[in-house]
């Protein structure tokens, strides 16, 4: 077993390669360069065009070409990856995005390998010969750092933790692997359907505009959607408006919803209960718009506007249009 590689398990969705997969290929390139390791992007199932797309960013791409592995299913992913390790040897690290899929199959893989597993990492670096990670706990109120001692280290990484890498000057090498068996036991995906209008999912978005009770009515969420469009952002919501049925669950930002780290977060009519703040306090730049100058959201913001979001947001859309 020679831990001479760092693997990134790439994820494609309807709208293509996920941003976190791109970011991880960049992270793997950097980590590998320090230790003379080989960064390898791994595609389990999927299509040749997707594997080729990965060669834009990754110097080495391994495509496990097996129709039984499409669409994604966690238990199959674990079997496919562990077979790959049997044939190729264990890498130093296996990285995947902390997406719904990553959080589903990566812990299972780690358990099968009896390997170290840490999820939703926000930083990776070498501490001597060992890989070290940072991650947030208690909703970002505390960070913890670990060194990982197993080969492989099995790690999921939060979207937005690493920058998007530059494309390679010449495409990487594409290698395909055909695993022996095409039969897999276990759950079968029978249907997938979209619950959103097609915008980029919150957790991957660079910019998020979120609305709360201060908007007054579900109809006024149109303003949030319009501002999101003007900013090329995704729409988020506070728990109270999700619980009130104004917005779907998968737009909820906060402790029982999503934890996100966009470049820009605009909180409109959100008071900033701790529950909400725990989901967005790792955003880079936070704007708060609220009628109450004493609202706690202003303590978690970089820029504050005291005013009614229903009045401020349309003006903000106009002002952005003038730029």
């Amino acid at each position: 077993m020679s831990p001479g590689e760092i693997w990134v398990v790439a994820e494609f969705r309807r709208d293509g390669l996920t941003r976190v997969s791109e970011q991880l290929v960049g992270a793997a390139r950097d980590l590998a360069a320090h230790k003379e390791l080989t960064p390898l992007a791994v595609l389990i199932g999927g299509e040749k065009s997707q594997a080729e797309e990965l060669t834009r960013l990754a110097p080495h791409v391994l495509w496990v070409d097996n129709p039984a592995l499409t669409p994604y299913e966690a238990n199959r992913h674990v079997v496919a990856l562990s077979k790959l390790i049997d044939s190729r040897g264990a890498p130093a690290a296996i990285l995947a995005g902390a997406s719904a899929a990553g959080l589903e199959f990566m812990p299972g893989l780690a358990a099968r390998l009896r390997a170290a597993y840490l999820s939703s990492c926000t930083r990776l670096w070498w501490e001597g010969e060992q890989l070290a990670v940072r991650r947030a706990v208690f909703g970002g109120r505390v960070y913890e750092e670990f060194v990982v001692r197993t080969s492989p280290a099995v790690l999921t990484v939060r979207p937005g933790a690493f920058p998007r890498p530059e494309p390679l000057t010449s495409p990487g090498e594409l290698e395909s692997a055909k695993p022996g068996s095409t039969e897999f036991e276990g759950p079968k995906v029978t249907q997938t359907r979209s619950t959103t209008s097609g915008g980029r999912d919150l957790s991957e978005a660079s910019r998020v505009v979120a609305g709360g009770r201060g908007l007054g009515s579900p109809e006024n969420f149109q303003l949030i959607e319009q501002l999101a469009e003007a900013l090329d952002a995704s729409v988020g919501a506070s728990r109270s408006v999700v619980d009130a049925g104004w917005r779907p669950h998968d737009e909820q930002v906060g402790k029982s919803g999503k934890t996100i780290s966009p470049e820009l977060y605009v909180a409109c009519g959100i008071s900033g209960a701790i529950h909400h703040v725990l989901g967005m306090n790792t955003a880079k730049v936070v704007v708060a718009i609220n009628t109450d100058a004493e609202a706690p959201i202003f303590q978690s913001a970089d820029f504050g506007v005291v005013g009614d979001a229903n009045q401020v947001v349309p003006e903000l859309i106009r002002e952005l249009g003038r730029k």
């Binding site: 669409p71 966690a74 238990n75 997406s99 719904a100 899929a101 959080l103 589903e104 990566m106 812990p107 299972g108 780690a110 358990a111 170290a116 597993y117 840490l118 940072r134 947030a136 706990v137 208690f138 909703g139 109120r141 505390v142 913890e144 750092e145 670990f146 060194v147 197993t150 276990g186 759950p187 079968k188 995906v189 029978t190 249907q191 359907r193 619950t195 959103t196 980029r200 999912d201 660079s206 910019r207 090329d232 669950h249 998968d250 402790k255 934890t259 470049e263 725990l278 306090n281 708060a288 202003f298 970089d302 506007v305 005013g307 009045q311 401020v312 003006e315 903000l316 002002e319 730029k323």
Partner: protein, 265 residues
């Protein structure tokens, strides 16, 4: 057919409990423990299954002595039988060690279905459920928003949430399912049930290890705890409306977070 359903529950500090980084090696956590939110969703989902089918329900917890708080919540919500795994030091262990303790007990209980929350409200690893399934060699589905069982055919239909999509899966039992918000709406138990749960019997069960799993230290070592980076004080834009909005747009332009440059969406 009677199905055996085991719900895994975990105690976590209340989200309003004070948490301080005392030193690199020590946290000070206010002792206000509750059942982790997503585990309450799993409990509620289990209770719903019990209404629809012939189901024997058990709640199982591992971890520190505070696990009792999560188990009492399960009792108050309506689960009759609860078990706490007797094993020291699990609070300082990694997810795999905790999953191993749970899987070791589950091998004895032989459930048809294991339910748990999709992640704990403290370390947010979201790992124990999938790991338990792998160690038990049963399939799992994470982040479920709906679950229906067909006991006669020993099968289940699960819908899981994945970034704006709902995926439907068909699978046989036994199975482990982790709960996303929306799988069920946890009810708040009435005070009399909470009082009664305070006196409920909590069975402490020893476990025979399923595997010869090395200690956490072989896999990883925590270097330190750190306080999160602090945000500079908020800059309030105080010009009269709409001048403040124009100032805001200028400030965002300077911060480089407006669309158009560098970062195509």
């Amino acid at each position: 057919v009677t199905l055996k359903v085991v719900v895994l529950v975990k105690q976590v500090p209340d989200h309003e409990a004070a948490i301080q980084v005392v030193s690199e090696q020590e946290l000070d956590i206010e002792k206000r423990y509750v059942c982790s939110y997503f585990d309450e969703v799993a409990i509620e989902a289990a209770l719903a299954l019990q209404k629809a089918h012939e189901v024997e329900l058990v709640a199982l917890a591992a971890g520190s002595k505070h696990a009792v708080d999560a188990l009492r919540r399960a009792v108050a919500m309506g689960i009759d039988r609860v078990e706490q795994i007797e094993q020291d030091n699990l609070a300082q262990s990694d997810s795999l060690a905790v999953a191993h303790a749970l899987a070791s007990r589950l091998k004895v209980l032989e459930p048809d279905l294991v339910l748990c929350g999709k992640q704990g409200g403290d370390d947010e690893q979201a790992a124990v459920g999938p790991m338990v399934a792998q160690l038990m060699e049963i399939p799992h589905v994470s982040a479920a928003v709906s679950l229906s069982l067909d006991p006669a055919n020993s099968s289940a239909t699960v819908e899981r949430m994945s970034e704006g999509e709902v995926w439907t899966l068909q699978t046989g039992l036994p199975l482990l399912v982790s709960a996303e918000k929306g799988l069920a709406e946890p009810h708040v138990p009435v005070v009399t049930r909470v009082m009664k749960a305070m006196k409920a019997k909590i069975e402490v069960v020893p476990v025979e290890p399923l595997l010869d799993l090395p200690d956490t230290e072989i896999r990883m070592q925590r270097l330190r705890y750190l306080p999160p980076p602090t945000r500079p004080p908020v800059k309030m834009l105080i010009s009269p409306f709409p001048g403040n909005v124009a100032e805001l747009v200028d400030a965002l332009g300077e911060a480089g977070v407006l669309p158009g440059k560098g970062d195509p969406s």
